[in-house]
């Protein structure tokens, strides 16, 4: 695939024409790019010409100074991000559009954990792609149905959970409502002090069948 994906840059019109540079051979000599004969010729010139020797020295020193340039390294997440992007890139277009972006500009807010989850998702998807579907080509229609079934199941579970907790687990508010008459008369009950007396008082007040004859 040597036809690289993008077009090569056309030659710039401002690009200097080759040749006519008195230092070409000198630089090529320093770079070890001259054939044997040309190399000997340059060495002879250098032996006879101190100006050329100074030029060579200056070229060499300037070249060595390039070692001072900062060497930029990839960030720690680069490999992970790149591999995750590749996996997403190979997914169907509609899935990829919803998934993680490819470039840092778009993915700067994506954390490492999110990327891990993306990798897991894509791994799972790639595994699921390898497993043949028993329904063959009907997979496209079955997927929305399966999602709908999941949502219906979730709704049913939520309703059942609500009913169970509402009926079986006593509500503190309900208990308070039941005890409200007692609470309202709590001060009077406290003054009486005896439960037995209260029972007798109620029977007396209601005039029921268990009414005892006065002594």
């Amino acid at each position: 695939m040597n036809d690289v994906p993008t077009q090569p840059e056309p030659n710039s019109p401002s690009e200097p024409k080759p040749a006519a540079d008195p230092h070409e051979n000198l630089v090529a000599y320093l770079d070890g790019e001259l054939p044997e004969a040309a190399m000997r010729e340059v060495e002879q010139q250098l032996a006879q010409n101190p100006v050329l020797r100074r030029d060579v020295e200056a070229f060499q020193k300037a070249w060595e100074l390039l070692d001072e340039l900062p060497q930029i390294r990839a960030t720690d997440q680069f490999t992970t991000k790149t591999i995750a992007s590749l996996k997403i890139d190979t997914l169907p277009a509609e899935s990829a559009a919803k998934s993680a972006p490819r470039t840092r500009a778009a993915s700067s807010a994506v954390s490492a954990d999110e990327l891990n989850s993306i990798s897991i998702i894509t791994d799972v998807r790639s595994v699921s792609r390898r497993v043949p579907s028993p329904r063959g080509n009907s997979g496209g229609k079955a997927k929305p149905l399966a999602i709908a079934a999941w949502f219906a199941g979730l709704a049913l579970s939520a309703a059942a959970g609500f009913l169970v907790t509402n009926r079986l687990v006593p509500s503190p508010a309900e208990r308070l409502l039941q005890d409200l008459p007692v609470i309202e008369k709590w001060d009077k009950f406290k003054e009486v002090g005896s439960l037995e007396f209260l029972k007798q008082y109620r029977e007396l007040k209601m005039g029921g069948p268990h009414r005892e004859p006065p002594p």
């Binding site: 993008t6 540079d21 990839a74 680069f78």
Partner: protein
């Protein structure tokens, strides 16, 4: 054996070409290895082309994406290193062109208000000359060299970076940049002349 077959067998001995052939056959581990082998090298060169670490990473990521997308069509017709840097160069050129179309500041130029190429290096060098005892610290030297590199045009800069940091021969640089070997020779000669001129004051002191 014909020259084509000879060069083909030469490329097949390239370990990275062998990795890429495994990628072509669907070996993702081989691709991860290629990413590990080239990520720092690509980002470093791209950074000096676009002068923005984030843009350099984005471009490097795009290089890997393109390689992976086209893996099934890969044919070993060149050394892997020249091929990958050729893609990187094309992407960087496209990025610079797009940036230029949006009438923004050139990617390779320093931002307005920051130290500008050439002039700053001369001011700094003159300052050093006024104080002969003063030794420019490493940061200043680094800045001088960076500015000298910025004084090169894009093609000169790439040729210098590939030769200096990738140890590429003139022939390999030519293959990467789609130039003849003699054009590379001329390009590098002029680039080194510019570097020498830009760093002259510092070299003298």
């Amino acid at each position: 054996m014909s020259s084509v077959e000879s060069s083909l067998s030469q490329y097949l001995r390239d370990p990275d070409v062998q990795l890429m052939l495994r990628v072509r056959q669907g070996d993702d581990a081989a691709f991860t290895q290629l990413v590990a082998n080239y990520q720092d090298r690509l980002i470093s060169v791209l950074y000096h082309l676009v002068r923005d670490p984030e843009a350099a990473e984005d471009l490097a990521q795009e290089v890997f994406l393109r390689i992976y997308r086209n893996r099934e069509r890969y044919e070993p017709k060149a050394r892997f290193v020249t091929w990958i840097f050729r893609i990187a160069n094309n992407l960087a050129s496209n990025a610079r062109r797009n940036k230029g179309r949006r009438k923004e500041v050139s990617l390779s130029q320093p931002k307005p208000g920051s130290e500008t190429s050439g002039t700053y290096s001369r001011i700094l060098a003159d300052k050093s000359a006024l104080m002969p005892v003063r030794m420019a610290d490493r940061q200043e030297v680094r800045l001088l060299v960076q500015n000298a590199l910025d004084a090169l045009n894009d093609r000169q800069r790439l040729a210098v970076l590939l030769h200096k940091f990738e140890n590429m021969s003139y022939a390999d640089i030519g293959e990467t940049m789609d130039l003849s070997t003699s054009a590379v020779k001329s390009l590098l000669s002029r680039a080194r002349e510019v570097l020498r001129t830009e760093l002259e004051h510092h070299l003298r002191n």
